[in-house]
Symmetry: C2
C-alpha cells in the first residue's frame, strides 16, 4: 500500500464526518426531503432517504487539499472544513450539471432531477452551493484567524466563478459549429483546473506556506486530468471505463482530439456533424490527422508542468512524496 | 418628497455603481455573453447586450440595508458592498425562480431562460450567486475589519440557506394536496422574511449597533409584505396591479387566504382543485369562511410586530423616521 492510500484511509472518515456536520440535519420532519435530496446526492441515503453507503465518488479534490496541507507542514485537521467546502462545491456543480446535460444516472443511480424533478433539483444544487460556503466558516472553530479565512473564502469564490465561466463555455460548445483550442483550454481551466488549483492552494495557505507553486501544481494537474479524460472517452477500454467504446464520439462531444482534428482536416467538421458517419471513419481521421497524438502530447505537457511545480516546492517529507505518487496515479489512470 | 425618497435618490446611483463593480466586465470578447446574461437580468443591457436602462425592480432590500445602517448611526457608504450583495443574491434567486415557475416574462421582458435556454440560465444564476458572495469581500476595501466581515458573511449565508429552504417548500406546495398554515409560514419566512431580516440586520452590524431588533423588524416586515402580496394577488385592483383580477385564484396558487379557507371549509379543497369551479364561488368561499379577514388580521399583526421592533430601537434621527415611513409605504401599497 502506497502512502497516499494510507493517508486516504486515515482521513476519509474524518472528511465524511466534517461534510455531514456542514450539511446538517433536518430540525423538523417537514425538512426531511430538503436535506434528503442533498444526502442522496452525496451517497449517504438511498432514494427512500434510508441510510445507505453508496458510491459517492473518489473525493479527490478534498484529499488533495488535506494532503497539500500536510505536505506543507500543516495540520490536515485544520484544513478539514475547507476540504469539505471544496467537495460540497464540486457536488453542487454535479447536481446542476446533470440537469443541464439531461443525464438520468450518475454512478449507477438516478440523478436528483430524475427523481425529484428539475425545479427541486435546481434548488437542491443552490442549497448545496450555500452549504459549501457555510462549511468554510467552520474554519473559525479550528482556530484559523479571521483574516486568513477571508483570504481563503476569496480564493474559493474565485474558483466558483471560474467554474461557472467554464460551464458557460461548455454549454455554448454544444451548439457552436467550431470551437478553438484556446476556447477549449479556457473551458477546462474553469471546469476542472480552477477547483483543483484552489484545493492545493488552500491546503498550502492553511499550512502558512506560500501557495503559488501548489496552486500551479493543482491547476496543471487538472488540465492534464481533463485532457486525459477526453482521450479515455474515445480510446479508453470499455471493460475498464464502464462506458461503450468511443462513447464521446457517438454523442458527438467536442473534446480536444475532435477540436484538433477539425483544425487539421477541414472536411472533418462536416463529417463529425453528420450522424451517419461511421465511427471507424472518425477514428481514422483522429489518428491520421495527428489529432490524437497532439492531444496526448498536450496531456504529457501539463503532466510535466504539474510535476515541475511540485518539484519547485521541495516538499521533502512523506506527505510530499504521497502527493507526487497521487498525481502520478491520477495521470496514468485508465478509467 | 418624504425623506426615504430623498435617501433613495441619493444612494441609488451609488448602489448601482457598486453592483456593476461587483459583477465586473468581460476580460475577453469570448466572455461577453457570460457577463451579458447577468447584465441583461439586472436591467443594464437589452437582449442584444446593448446598453439600456430597463426596469430592474425597486431595489428595496439593499435600500433597507443602507437606510438601517444610516439610522443606526453608521456610514451607508461602508454598507454599499453588503447592500449590493443582498440585491445580487435576490436577483440570482429570481433567475432560478423563473426557470422553476416556467415564467417567460419578468418586468415586461423575456426571462433569461426564455432567451438563452434552461441550461445557460441555471448557470447564469449560479454565476450571480457566486458574484453576490464576491461582492461581500469588497467590504475589506471599505475598511471593515475581517472579523466583522466574517460575521456578516455567516449571517448572509444563513439567509441564503433559508431562501433555498423556503423555495423547497414553495415548490413542494404546488403538488401537495393540503398545506398547513405552519408550512406556509415556514415558506414565506425563508422566501421573503429571511433576506429582509438579513438586510436590516447587516446594516445595523455595519453601524456597530446590536442587530437583534433591526433583524426582527426586517423579518416581520417581510412576513407582512408577503401576506399582503397574497391578498393583492386575489383582491388587488387590476388597474393598479397590472395583473388580471384574482390572478392567483385562476392559477390555483396555494396562497394564505386559500390555505385558511381549506382549514375552515373542508369542501373548499375539492372546489379549489376543480378547474371548473367559477371564480365567484371561490371568492365567496374566501369571504364567507372568514379566510380573507383572517389573512388581513395576520398581515396587520406582522405589521404591528415590525413597527414595535423598530420602536424598541429608538432611532430618533431623520434616517430612523425615513425607515418608519418606508415600512409604512411598503405595507400600505396597493400593488
Amino acid at each position: 500500500m502506497t502512502s497516499w492510500e494510507t493517508f486516504f484511509n486515515e482521513w476519509m472518515p474524518l472528511l465524511e464526518a466534517e461534510m455531514r456536520a456542514a450539511v446538517g440535519e433536518p430540525a423538523h420532519p417537514s425538512e426531511r426531503l430538503f436535506y434528503g435530496m442533498l444526502a442522496y446526492h452525496l451517497g449517504w441515503v438511498d432514494a427512500q432517504l434510508q441510510p445507505a453507503r453508496q458510491d459517492a465518488g473518489k473525493r479527490i479534490r478534498p484529499m488533495l487539499c488535506l494532503l497539500a496541507c500536510a505536505a506543507c507542514g500543516g495540520d490536515p485537521a485544520q484544513a478539514l472544513p475547507a476540504a469539505a467546502a471544496i467537495e460540497l462545491l464540486h457536488n453542487f456543480s454535479l447536481i446542476h450539471d446533470d440537469i443541464q446535460d439531461r443525464s438520468e444516472t450518475r454512478r449507477g443511480r438516478p440523478t436528483v432531477w430524475a427523481l425529484w424533478g428539475i425545479a427541486q433539483a435546481i434548488n437542491a444544487g443552490d442549497a448545496l452551493f450555500t452549504i459549501a460556503h457555510r462549511a468554510l466558516w467552520r474554519l473559525r472553530e479550528r482556530g484559523v484567524p479571521a483574516k486568513r479565512i477571508l483570504e481563503i473564502a476569496e480564493r474559493f469564490d474565485a474558483a466558483c466563478l471560474m467554474l461557472t465561466r467554464g460551464q458557460h463555455f461548455d454549454l455554448a460548445f454544444e451548439s457552436a459549429e467550431r470551437v478553438t483550442v484556446a476556447e477549449y483550454m479556457a473551458m477546462i481551466q474553469g471546469k476542472t483546473a480552477a477547483l483543483l488549483g484552489a484545493a492545493t492552494g488552500i491546503g498550502a495557505r492553511l499550512a502558512d506556506h506560500p501557495p503559488g507553486d501548489l496552486e500551479a501544481f493543482g491547476e496543471a494537474l487538472g488540465m492534464a486530468f481533463q485532457i486525459q479524460d477526453d482521450l479515455l472517452g474515445i480510446w479508453g477500454d470499455p471493460a475498464v471505463t464502464g462506458k461503450s467504446a468511443a462513447d464521446d464520439l457517438r454523442t458527438r462531444k467536442k473534446t480536444l482530439p475532435v477540436i484538433l482534428a477539425m483544425e487539421r482536416i477541414p472536411e472533418f467538421v462536416e463529417r463529425y456533424r453528420d450522424p451517419q458517419t461511421p465511427l471507424e471513419i472518425l477514428l481514422r481521421d483522429l489518428e491520421h490527422s495527428g489529432a490524437r497524438a497532439e492531444a496526448e502530447t498536450m496531456a504529457a505537457l501539463f503532466t510535466q508542468q504539474a510535476m515541475a511545480a511540485l518539484e519547485r516546492v521541495e516538499l521533502r517529507n512523506p506527505y510530499g512524496e504521497a502527493l507526487q505518487d497521487l498525481a502520478r496515479v491520477l495521470l496514468s489512470r485508465t478509467r
